[in-house]
Each structure stands twice: as structure tokens, then as C-alpha cells.
């Protein structure tokens, strides 16, 4: 790891001022499980490292709050999200998804804001957050803005975040009544690995037909992605086994997987279809249960 100067701001204002001052020469350290690895490999070589440890008690950055939907402070660890009674009750999809990330040791350190800024396309939380219509609240000394998560991931490890901006809050809007959600992670190797493909789905029913469908995938392209052709094929239709199979097949054209030791591009494309179909099926079952038609 190359030398850098480590700075530990005492407040959000001080952190933002440091980011404004140092811009692209600075990197922000939250849990460090992603960034320290990149720094050890010299893929990232900041002159200044801004550690957010002393901000971990700031309510805005560290709390999970009911707020119509929910807001999750960017410095909440994966473990905090996974074990939050509020999230388990209100957004079981998120609790389940975060349980699938790496190991307890990594989840203890890694934060939700840090992992999103890291933008490794193989991560588990982004597809789940995408189907929940999450937005990110980001701040700089110039003010605050919200970024729709659909617009956040730009390319491989690249996001829409400016160098002087910091993610402060993940905003989950109120969810459709009676929506069913599901998350699948295909892991042919060890349980703490990144997915070969991961799929999240949120389906809400209006009687017998699908009122809204959200499908998103991780580890299936250079960024997490929404499978919009699949969503369109499901929308307004009755979720028969044939419909779900035909709709899931469309995901093959939407993914653009990178070959690695977790599978060839062809294999990941095939598995994306299989797991999209299964995940839609689970979400439909849960939506039926929620509407009392189970």
C-alpha cells in the first residue's frame, strides 16, 4: 500500500470541507473492506484518506428511521441492516439480502454507503435496493441532492458520485401494498463468495394480474441492472408458469456478464434466466400470500 495521509474529521461538515479541498486526491474510508483491498493492490492510490469513524454516532449517518418508507444512514453496517427489527419487519427483502453478503466479519465492518460507492457489480445489495426503488441522498459543501439508484451505477466500479460528494442516506420509499419480494443468489462455490448471478424481484398483484414488477440483477454486467424487458412482459399479465418462463427468458438479452472463475459469460447468461424465473415465482407466491390468495 502506498503512503497516504489519514485524516479523521469530527463532523459531517468537516468531512465535506476536506472532500471539497482535496477532490480526486482523496478517498473516503468507511468499513474499508472494499477500499483497503483496492489500495493494497495499488488500484487506488489516494494522497489523503478521510476516515469517517468519528461520524458513526451522527444520527443522520448511522440510524435507520421509518419515514413513510425507510431511511438508512450510509454508515450503517451490513450487520446492522441485517439484524434491524425495523428492516426485518418492514423490508424483509433487505434483511435477507444483507444476510447473504460475504461473512459476519465482513458484514460487521462494511457499510451500506461504502459498498454502494465501491460499486463492485458483483455485490448483493444493489439488485435488492433497485427493486425497492431506492434513492441515495448525497451531500457536498454545495448542498444536497438525491440520485435515483437506477442512475447511480455508471460503469465497472464507477458511479455518478462527484469526488467532493458523500452518500449520507439511502432512502427507500413506501412500497406498494401487498408486494411480494424475493432474492436469489446462485453460489456454486463457497457460501461467502460473490454470486455467479444474483436476482431480486418485487411483484405486486391486482387480483389475478401483475400490477407492478421490478426485477434486477447483480453479477450480470458491468453494473447492477434492471431487467426492464422482463418487467414489461410481466406487467398487466396473469402470472402463469408459462408467462413467468417466457418473461424470464428475455433476461438473456439484457445481461452482459463478465467471464471469471465463477463462470463463463454463457453460463452466467443461462443461470440468469433460471434464477430470474425462480425469483419471479417466489415473489409472486409471496404477493399471493400477502393478498390472501395463497
Amino acid at each position: 500500500m502506498i503512503a497516504f495521509e489519514y485524516i479523521e474529521p469530527e463532523s459531517l461538515e468537516e468531512a465535506l470541507a476536506l472532500l471539497e479541498q482535496h477532490g480526486e486526491d482523496a478517498k473516503v474510508l468507511a468499513g474499508g473492506t472494499g477500499l483497503v483491498n483496492l489500495m493494497k493492490q495499488r488500484l487506488v492510490q489516494p494522497t489523503y484518506l478521510i476516515g469517517l469513524r468519528r461520524l458513526a454516532h451522527s444520527p443522520e449517518l448511522a440510524e435507520i428511521r421509518p419515514n413513510g418508507g425507510l431511511t438508512i444512514g450510509a454508515l450503517c453496517s451490513h450487520r446492522t441492516v441485517e439484524t434491524s427489527a425495523l428492516i426485518q419487519h418492514r423490508l424483509p427483502l433487505l434483511a435477507t439480502t444483507f444476510q447473504h453478503v460475504a461473512s459476519v466479519r465482513i458484514r460487521t465492518a462494511a457499510t451500506i454507503g461504502g459498498s454502494l460507492a465501491h460499486a463492485d457489480p458483483n455485490q448483493d445489495p444493489p439488485p435488492a435496493l433497485l427493486v425497492l426503488d431506492a434513492r441515495l441522498r448525497v451531500q457536498s459543501t454545495h448542498g444536497e441532492r438525491e440520485i435515483d439508484l437506477n442512475d447511480f451505477f455508471v460503469d465497472y466500479y464507477e458511479t455518478a458520485l462527484e469526488p467532493e460528494e458523500l452518500i449520507t442516506t439511502v432512502v427507500i420509499p413506501p412500497q406498494p401494498t401487498g408486494a411480494g419480494t424475493a432474492f436469489s443468489k446462485f453460489l456454486p462455490q463457497t457460501h461467502d463468495d460473490y454470486a455467479t448471478v444474483a436476482v431480486a424481484a418485487r411483484i405486486s398483484l391486482d387480483g389475478d394480474t401483475i400490477a407492478h414488477a421490478r426485477i434486477a440483477l447483480g453479477a450480470a454486467a458491468a453494473t447492477p441492472l434492471r431487467a426492464k424487458a422482463v418487467e414489461t412482459a410481466l406487467q398487466g399479465q396473469t402470472p402463469t408458469p408459462k408467462l413467468m418462463r417466457d418473461a424470464a427468458a428475455l433476461v438473456a438479452e439484457e445481461v452482459d456478464p463478465l467471464a471469471d472463475f465463477r463462470g463463463s459469460a454463457e453460463y452466467k447468461r443461462d443461470m440468469a434466466v433460471v434464477f430470474t424465473q425462480r425469483t419471479i415465482g417466489q415473489a409472486v407466491t409471496r404477493a399471493r400470500e400477502a393478498s390472501g390468495n395463497g
Binding site: A3, Y6, T33, L49, R105, I106, T108, A109, T190
Partner: protein, 156 residues
Amino acid sequence: MKSIRLRVNGQAVERDIPDNALLIDLLRNGLDLTGTKEGCSVGVCGACTVLLDGQPVSSCLTLAVTADGCAVTTIEGLSEGDRLHPLQKAFIDYGGFQCGICTPGQIMSAKALLDENPHPSKDEIQNWMMGNLCRCTGYYKIIESIQAVADGRVTP
């Protein structure tokens, strides 16, 4: 350079360290606590697990400067003189290790589990411990060792 003050296994420690020093290097090279092992160096294998304010972390991914003001517990901090911690005793009694290089990390992870959940089920043990790799294929014995402590079958 940064001056840091922390407690390691209950002892107050003050050191001047480079900003980019890792906690594992401070422990092993700075404090001669070589019980903590470095395996993969990328946070996957769990060999370097220590407790930072009671929470399990990969010391190979933790900057030493971020341990300033914290309490660190390593494998050396578990026994009281010759009196082994129940987990250490159990790993011996139940054959929870072969070559031993993963063992300090296994035991520190298991300690974090039992501190949070003193009576875990077998599933809970397996789920918690999956981030600690053993290449001697000793997983069954590792789980049995932890289960024995959870069930109160080990007296130190």
C-alpha cells in the same frame, strides 16, 4: 506518522505508526503478538480475525490508525496464565484443528459468536463460521468444538 493509544488484551499500548500500517502488522511486528495469522490478505480466509471493541474484524483489512482508542483482543488474550479459555480447551479436546494455522481466527470468530449468542444452534454456528476457512477439512470438528462450549460440556 500517527500516534495511537489502544488497549490490546487489556494492556494499554501507545505507538507511533505510519498512516498506512495495517492492524495485523502492528500486532505481529510491533507488539510481537504472532498468534494472529495472515492467510489470504484480502479478508476472505478469516485467519487474521481479531476482536475490535468486541466485534470480529479482518486485521489484514483494518488500518491500525482506526484502532486508536479501541480495545483489541487477540488469541493471546483469551487464556488466563495456564488456564485455557473454554474454546481453546474444546478445540484440543474435540480435535478442532490439524495444522493449526486457521485456529486463532476460528477461535476468535467463535468467541464473537458466543459473546453475542451463548447458545447457538448448529445452523447458527455453521452460518457464523463460514467466513473462516480450514484447508485441513476440519469443519466438522470445529463445529463440534464450538457446540461443546455452547452446551457447557467443556470445563476450562
